[in-house]
Point group: C2
Chain length 470, copies 2
């Protein structure tokens, strides 16, 4: 029983809620796509607003649009950019594959708000959704352009800062733990010693490379379809339009965008989104490795590896009192699983491109933006609530190394592989350490033995043989 | 500036909004997991409520819980089941991998509501979240059980009815189009004729098999972890508890659940969810094929295959006036892409199981339930807004067949493969039909030719040679 106004499009009449800024085509899309509760993400609505705003200014500067409607569109689009009209975007993600419903939704909202600003009535199309707001544009160039803008901006504003923080946290631990020697592990079996700081340094470098990968993802997103209009030919669009619009948006977002080198590539496919998602998936794989290593290094507290202690964040169990779990790391691994799945959705979307237009755009946008946002929030949370509070269990690290049979590796260059292997077997059988057995069997003078069996030296390139000449 | 109450758990004190039914552990989880806007789906909250309600009755019947708290829990859990307390479940999907935060969230909400029903104050734990609501349970058996219940019930109540409707629609078209002969296509190249009804009959059978697959998915979900408590041994749980609880829930949901044959399998892994997701993915692949065929069969309206006409649902384009697109089918294909990606997330989750517990449960639950719900809404929408309104373009079907070179295939058994191929080549070069060339070259008497070149007969098993003996 909300009051409605009647609106008409090329298909006939439909009622629209009187107080809605959106119009008949949005109403039709609401009816047509009752599929999910997933809606166009904020970052994408913002990007649509950025395009419509810059388009109006540029169309005016090219003398294609009068000053009055242009100014009104700029003001209305600014409200879209700022998120003040988000509730006016009710269309499902699972809609037309070009995102036409979302482009028309944006055109209608801006048209009605601009019309109102000029004193007209909603639905009167004083500022027209197609002729004015969509001037020189098609969903087919606007929607992919908006996805590129939204993704690149979210990488810039959310993901890279989050990764920078995580990198700093890991690097800090790499320095803090640089003196702590511990057993290395390969194939889950004891290997020669490493420093805990070296392990964390490796993680830090993974994230540093992750930041570089995010910049490559942004590069993949930098060419945009705008200017191609319906099929890439640019019909009904001024040749200078896209270049000028993207110059404005590059300035506003701080991300570099340019018109596609080839507009047919730019909108008939979205390999760029597939590539960007591949970079995100790579980052997810890095985070999965780091989060899992940290879960295992902290396993225990009594009956696991127990080489590090994670900060306690909440009671772990509803049934086991006092148990504490690595829940922050677990939430990171679940985010990684989501991103790896999202990448497949984007890949399935990408390979479904036909002729002049790929019609999988909204689902690709949703999954890509979700991946970016999840990786950002999870990385920050991982840094703040887990990594920064990790403490090394130095005693445990020390005692495990001394017990390890891999110590014999440092003797091999001096006494030979087979003699060293025999030492390890003897130690294993007798329950003694390699050092003890080597001493008993007098394999080397005590001073040389101490030199060679120094775990710290084993963690340096070339050591200990190379560094033990003295 | 909302007023708060102080609550305490084993980790210390934390403020909780005074009017919240949830408690300190939920508040901690809100703080710990600021990752996404994704929340535990309704179907899963309902399932948690079903478990807690039946658990209280059964614990009372086993004399483990007094009547007063048991009755209060039953009443409070009923409100959870019915969705009246959904706003009290604010914990992120990307949380602890066991879903402990959601189990404790449920325990706290029911504890506080039950306490209130008995005249106590929220936070007083008159009905205790762990000792009473969680009695005989652990997150580790409750959460996977709730996922099985939620998924199976949603398949039963939403997906199977939707598929039944879609099957009926396709079957109806199979009958309606049974007289319409059209060109068959393999490798996208013209092949021998089929009836449009046969094509739709194939689609209908795919969906019929899809329904059978959904029943297999339900079968995969029928064994539940409940009764295993923390690690599968059932510590702190009455041996009759799980059997009795699941008997109640089977009755309430109309889905058959039983206690896991092996509780270690039941909660140390979730192969069952991976299997169910595999069935959903198979359905997505069926729908992708059907939706794409229908997009192509309806391509045009002037310059495509144009063998069918889809119902018009909205103006197609923001720039091309009068264009109409197969948007309902496109939204189906996007749902399929999502489901195929979700399946990968569930697979990544499934293969990350360690020892007594798989810690990827919430993300697996979210993706599985999303797949079920999307497939249900998309299938209904596909049936109602697309399939049911499809009209055949009989003239077009007829004329394409007569022009097709594949007609010569029916002559091959009589005149030989090579002679028939020559006919086809001659027809191709001259721009004439196979019939015309065959007549000109007098390859067979007119009557026999008409018999053999009857496209209708070619669509029947064995025809036309087998059926043209007369
Ligand atoms: O929440 C539980 O019941 C158990 C969790 C755990 O195994 O740590
Ligand atoms: O919405 C458009 O601008 C175009 C859609 C289409 O290509 O049909």
């Amino acid at each position: 029983t909300t009051s409605t106004r009647m609106e008409r499009d090329t298909m006939g009449e439909l009622p629209v809620p009187s107080n809605a800024y959106y119009g008949v085509q949005t109403a039709r899309a609401i009816e047509n796509f009752p599929i999910s509760s997933l809606r166009i993400p904020r970052a994408m609505i913002r990007a649509m607003g950025l395009i419509k705003r810059a388009a109006a200014s540029v169309n005016h500067s090219l003398k294609l649009l009068d000053k009055k409607p242009a100014d009104a569109i700029v003001r209305a689009a600014t409200e879209v950019v700022e998120g003040r009209l988000d509730a006016e975007f009710p269309v499902d993600i699972f809609q037309t594959g070009s995102g036409t419903s979302t482009n028309m939704n944006t055109n209608e909202v801006i048209s009605n708000r601009a019309t109102e600003l000029l004193g007209g009535a909603r639905g009167s199309k004083l500022v027209h959704p197609n002729d004015h707001v969509n001037l020189g544009q098609s969903s087919n160039d606007v929607v992919p352009t908006a996805i590129h803008i939204a993704a690149s901006e979210t990488i810039q504003r959310q993901l890279i800062p989050a990764l920078t923080r995580l990198h700093k946290a890991l690097n800090g631990k790499a320095r803090e733990f640089d003196k702590i020697v511990k057993i290395g592990r390969t194939h889950l079996q004891d290997a020669t010693p490493v420093r805990l700081g070296q392990e964390f340094g490796g993680y830090a470098r993974q994230i540093e490379l992750g930041i570089a990968r995010m910049k490559r993802a942004q590069a993949a997103l930098s060419e945009v379809a705008l200017g191609g209009t319906a099929v890439g030919t640019g019909l009904n669009c001024h040749p200078k339009f896209a270049g000028k619009v993207m110059a404005i948006i590059s300035k506003e977002t701080g991300c570099a965008f340019k018109e596609a080198v080839d507009h047919f590539e730019g909108q008939s496919a979205q390999d760029s989104l597939v590539e960007a998602s591949g970079e995100l998936r790579t980052l997810a794989v890095s985070l999965m490795k780091i989060a899992n290593d940290i879960r295992w290094l902290g396993s225990g507290p009594r009956c696991g590896l127990g080489e590090i202690n994670l900060p306690e964040t909440q009671p772990g169990s509803s049934i086991m009192p006092g148990k504490v779990n690595p829940v922050i790391a677990e939430s990171v691994t679940m985010v990684c699983a989501q991103v790896i799945g999202n990448d497949v959705t984007i890949t399935v979307g990408g390979q479904a491109a036909n002729f002049e237009l790929i019609v999988m755009l909204p689902v690709m946008a949703y999954n890509l933006l979700q991946s970016i946002e999840l990786l950002a929030t999870a990385s920050t949370n991982f840094a703040v609530k887990c990594i920064e509070g990790i403490k090394a269990n130095e005693e445990r690290c020390k005692s495990l190394i001394e017990e390890s049979l891999a110590m014999c590796t440092a003797l091999a260059p001096v006494i030979g592989y087979e003699a060293a292997a025999k030492l390890a077997k003897d130690a294993y059988k007798s329950g003694k350490t390699v050092r003890e057995v080597a001493r008993e069997q007098n394999v080397l003078p005590e001073k040389r033995l101490t030199q060679l069996l120094d775990p710290w030296r084993m963690t340096q390139a070339g050591g200990p043989v190379g560094s033990a000449g003295g």
